[in-house]
Symmetry: C2
Subunit: 200 residues, 2 copies
DNA sequence: CAAGATATTGGTACTGATACTAAGTAGAGA
DNA sequence: TCTCTACTTAGTATCAGTACCAATATCTTG
């Protein structure tokens, strides 16, 4: 399995050392000197992980992670901080980081904690790809179809949906069929499941 | 809203001080001198929170939280530690603690962080009660009804279920009706939803 | 303007689910 | 042994959903 590790650190020597270490351990690495560059360029294809420095000019690590959360970028984040305290670490974890390490750190320890994060991501990725596909299908529905879908998923009969939307039952039936086709499911059970997965 | 705060600390003076502070702020408190006593006696009725000391004779804080996780005890945990370092805090957060505070701490700050945890728990509790009710309904199904239910939820037709279980379609129909009644739902959409909630 | 997507409504026929009633068998427990 | 529960099967009638068919109006886009 190929893993992509994104290294975000303002210290060039640190970037090079980390990149070298991880490439020698069979990982792909991409390096970024600051948070906003990373946020623009991050192409999250393979299961991976972010090694994020806390203190950087421009956006600091917390801000980068907050932005990632806002954008729904769910790749796991490990903080690497030169001078941190407990409250900084706790805040990082509360924002959703999966680990927080102090520099300097031994190569062996870093690799070990990184492996844990990558394992974590592998399982999550599969589910995520599935969810993403469902979201995409949902986005291809017309507005009316979406309205019908949420009512179908909530358990209403076509008749009730028709009344609620001021439509003829026929129309609802047609929309319903379209929804099933576009969402790629063949029965209500599956439709409810995928709707639940992508939290519609 | 009444809140229960469980204080687990081996230092009697600390227990008293915390209890006094929180009671004066309108919370119910229960104090425990060690982890195992707490684990035995914890009656989690109202939305609440645990203030957990890290260094204690017998079980330490990490062990208490680990045991809580194993038992599915989902009340939020705030660690209060006298001498901790980043790695200890990070491990605590990875185990699922929602906060990690250092002693000594000001009353105002403690109350503030505690309020956050309690708010968090209020929302979670409602969902939790709902899930628990569904689990109970599910436990009241007969073995055959459970088999039928999982197949219904997975989207199979009665005919297919009958074939899979070597039954007559009639029998499946009856089980299906019983499942709907016992689970307290009136259509497949609701059934799939509650099944998804309690991860059946 | 023409083409295509969207929203709307209708018909017919088939399949599946539900509600009702009814009943036989088998095993556990009083 | 009797009872209770679970499991099994059956008939009938009704209602809901699906798969075909087809048509009209609106609105955006090329």
């Amino acid at each position: 399995m190929i893993h992509d590790v994104f290294i975000v650190d303002d210290d060039a020597a640190m970037r090079d050392a980390l990149s070298l270490l991880l490439e020698n351990n069979g990982m792909n690495t991409e390096v970024f000197a600051d948070g906003s560059t990373f946020l623009q360029a991050c192409e999250y294809q393979n299961p991976g992980c972010v090694l994020l420095d806390m203190a950087m000019p421009g956006m600091n690590g917390h801000e980068v992670l907050t932005t990632m959360n806002e954008r729904g970028l769910q790749i796991p984040v490990i903080f690497l901080s030169g001078y941190g305290d407990i409250s900084m670490a706790v805040r990082a974890m509360q924002l959703g980081a999966i680990d927080f390490l102090e520099k300097p750190i031994s190569g062996a320890k870093l690799i070990k904690r990184l492996q844990r994060a990558l394992m974590n991501d592998e399982g999550r990725r599969e589910m995520q790809l599935h969810i993403q596909a469902s979201r995409q299908s949902y986005s291809r529905l017309s507005p009316r179809e979406r309205e019908v879908m949420v009512l179908v998923v909530s358990g209403l009969l076509n008749k009730e949906i028709a009344h609620k939307l001021q439509l003829s039952p026929r129309t609802v039936e047609v929309h319903r069929i379209h929804v099933m086709h576009k969402m790629g499911v063949s029965n209500i059970a599956e439709l409810v499941s995928v709707a639940g997965l992508c939290k519609i």
